[in-house]
Symmetry: C3
Subunit: 162 residues, 3 copies
Amino acid sequence: MNQEHTQQKTTIVLFSGELDKAIAAFIIANGAAAYDHEVTIFFTFWGLNTLRKEELVRTNKGVLEKAFGWMMPRGPQKLALSKMNFAGLGPQMIKHVMKKHNALSLPQLIELAQEQGIKLVACTMTMDLLGLQQEEMMDGLEYAGVAAYLGDASQGKVNLFI
Amino acid sequence: MNQEHTQQKTTIVLFSGELDKAIAAFIIANGAAAYDHEVTIFFTFWGLNTLRKEELVRTNKGVLEKAFGWMMPRGPQKLALSKMNFAGLGPQMIKHVMKKHNALSLPQLIELAQEQGIKLVACTMTMDLLGLQQEEMMDGLEYAGVAAYLGDASQGKVNLFI
Amino acid sequence: MNQEHTQQKTTIVLFSGELDKAIAAFIIANGAAAYDHEVTIFFTFWGLNTLRKEELVRTNKGVLEKAFGWMMPRGPQKLALSKMNFAGLGPQMIKHVMKKHNALSLPQLIELAQEQGIKLVACTMTMDLLGLQQEEMMDGLEYAGVAAYLGDASQGKVNLFI
């Protein structure tokens, strides 16, 4: 029996674009990787914003796609909370207590995920819909569709949609 | 070893009543069915609105149930977005870019699901609570409770709650 | 083959703090327990509010933690709906129709879960972040981190994130 058969697979679809849900996704993913699971996070719809570069990247887009690009947050530092956002005060409070308790911030959790070899996959179909282009996204991502996700998930036992 | 044992089962609970989440659910479900999984989508709470007929159906209901019926969207064309809804502008934008990119619309995704033999199950307990009656729902559905869902899910590996 | 190998494991992460999602989580959990699954609900972030005592408990906290404590609902009776909350009218409507249809209320569903031996686990890391202390939480809970959750989930087939 080789390693292939014994290593657990874990997948997370990150659909939501909120700070608290992204933190939960990366804490579970990093925990699973620490227990030697092979982990994939598949980013789709608003979850894709977690992976955007913070700086504005010049791209050649249609008007609607530009509008989506402007309205959506650029990267992990810009995400709102799903509850008690209070026009941006809530995320500051959460970031403050996380630092106080020595919890890793979302950018640090993403870095740790990449160090642990967690596959970060951006859904190409929803990137098209929202007009996101690869130059706007952080480095080290894979780009794939729902077939790739199902390939991983159907070999896993812990498959979450967040 | 017969077909029974080799066919993967995939289940999705669609709890949410938003357009973007319903689209994600049906894209994953149709993808899994294309890979020959046996797929069930179990619609509960607000997810049930995805399956309502667009036209007003006359029913005999209590006042509260009537109130729920009026306030909830009737069918896939009327769902809002979970983000950037902008009083209905967001869904129009999404529908526009989906058409532009030749992506299937939600009504088309539902039709494809039915053609592929995906089981669409409406949760009878929450239909009772929200006062929804079978005459208000689209054709070709099954009606069952949480026991039926668990029967399918406990044989599956990809079990999502959306 | 002993019981260990044949009993199904089912886990739910309850991240959300809304009445309707908590009801859905406990209906699925109680259903699974009735079918003899070994069930764990892991409460994290806003889901922790489901387990708070209704009465105000005096604790010694920092200012930010006190602020979170004041702003978050205390216990199952105080949760809002994810949709159609209407400043608290929605939850009253749902509670009313649930009583009318003889459905168990959320506090009753929690009690049933405890009677059926469902493990209710509060996430210690997010309790720290939100400043929640064990004295504020209902009796009969376990306290653990993401490692404990992954231990259970990786032996289960039905693993949901709600």
